[in-house]
């Protein structure tokens, strides 16, 4: 441990604002990237689902099924 107390850790030997600004902006932007990707996915799936629902009015198409892995992927990360 390079610091004696939590206050010293926050102060960063007098360079606190610089260290925390650099780290904070980096963390913020990286979280924003992940957040954006998740929102993007959710919106895409929502619009695709809506479209499928709309097309349900039409007669059902051929009963070709997707492989299981696809369903699994759908289940674990949405």
């Amino acid at each position: 441990m390079a610091f004696s107390s939590f206050a010293a850790f926050l102060a960063m030997g007098g360079h606190g604002p610089y260290v925390w600004a650099a780290w904070g902006v980096t963390a913020l932007l990286m979280i924003a990237c992940v957040w954006h990707a998740r929102i993007e996915r959710r919106l895409l799936i929502r619009s695709l689902t809506r479209r499928t629902r709309r097309e349900k009015m039409r007669p059902p198409q051929s009963g070709k099924t997707a492989p299981n892995s696809l369903q699994a992927s759908q289940a674990d990360d949405t």
């Binding site: 390079a2 030997g13 360079h15 260290v19 780290w23 289940a75």
Partner: protein, 248 residues
């Protein structure tokens, strides 16, 4: 070997396989980043040789971001090459999603460099060789993004952005070399941000962990967004429609 490439080139296959790989990528990268963060911020010894004190801890975000920014451009150009030569669409989708992330990483490197400059140089900006090349890299990323967006047809935009990415990647080493030359010619500060004679192990080990974590993050995020891009572009394909129908 050829069938392997062929399989990964199929959007459907890629979508299915990336779903399995993706959680592992996230787990590994977040673990590495968390370790590197705690280690770098709290446990790595304070810099004393050059009197930077604790401000040197910015290195643990600045250097990984700078590494990553260049690697993203190279990966983007490689994906573009694969797309142009073998017409593999997944490669173009990956290149599409890499460009904005590369621009973000370049910005992170620039921002952390500028903030680091305040305690070290006493100013927010110095025309330091490393920062200048980073700035140019940012412009290159913005150019690729803008060119892709400027075309009405997605296909033309993809091809044009691919050519530009490849032209850019040939130019990056030339730009780096010429900027270094220009910098030494003008001989301003004798002190660059990250040049130090032999960094002790306990300082560069967390840096290594951080760099690996950032690379993992890049891979995981690219997989995630490429999957989105696949859904968007293959929207009308049979398998996507089936996929959505069954997911409900």
């Amino acid at each position: 070997m050829w069938t392997f490439i062929h399989k990964w080139g199929s959007p459907k296959w890629f979508y299915a396989m990336s779903a399995r790989v993706q959680p592992w990528c996230w787990a590994v990268s977040l673990l590495l980043i968390a370790t590197g963060t705690v280690w770098g911020l709290a446990f790595a010894p304070t810099e004393v040789n050059q009197g930077q004190g604790d401000s040197f801890r910015i290195i643990y975000v600045h250097v990984p971001a700078a590494f990553l920014a260049q690697s993203v451009f190279v990966s983007m150009a490689a994906a573009s090459l694969v797309f142009m030569v073998w017409k593999i669409k997944v490669a173009d989708m990956a290149a599409t999603v890499m460009a904005p992330f590369g621009a973000v990483m370049t910005f992170v490197a620039l921002f952390s460099g500028a903030v680091w400059g305040v305690p070290t140089w006493g100013t927010w900006w110095m025309w330091d060789a490393r920062l200048t090349s980073m700035l140019i890299l940012l412009f290159l990323f913005l150019g690729v993004i803008a060119l892709r967006g400027a075309f009405a047809s997605r296909d033309s935009g993809s091809k044009a952005a691919s050519v530009l990415a490849m032209v850019g990647v040939i130019n990056i080493p030339i730009i780096k070399y010429s900027v270094d030359w220009w910098f030494t010619l003008h001989q301003p500060a004798t002190f660059t941000l990250t040049s130090r004679p032999a960094m002790p192990t306990e300082m560069w080990l967390p840096l290594l962990v951080m760099v690996l974590g950032f690379y993992g993050f890049f891979i995981a995020l690219t997989l995630m967004r490429t999957r989105n891009e696949i859904l968007r572009r293959e929207m009308n394909k049979r398998w996507v429609i089936d996929l959505i129908r069954e997911a409900r």
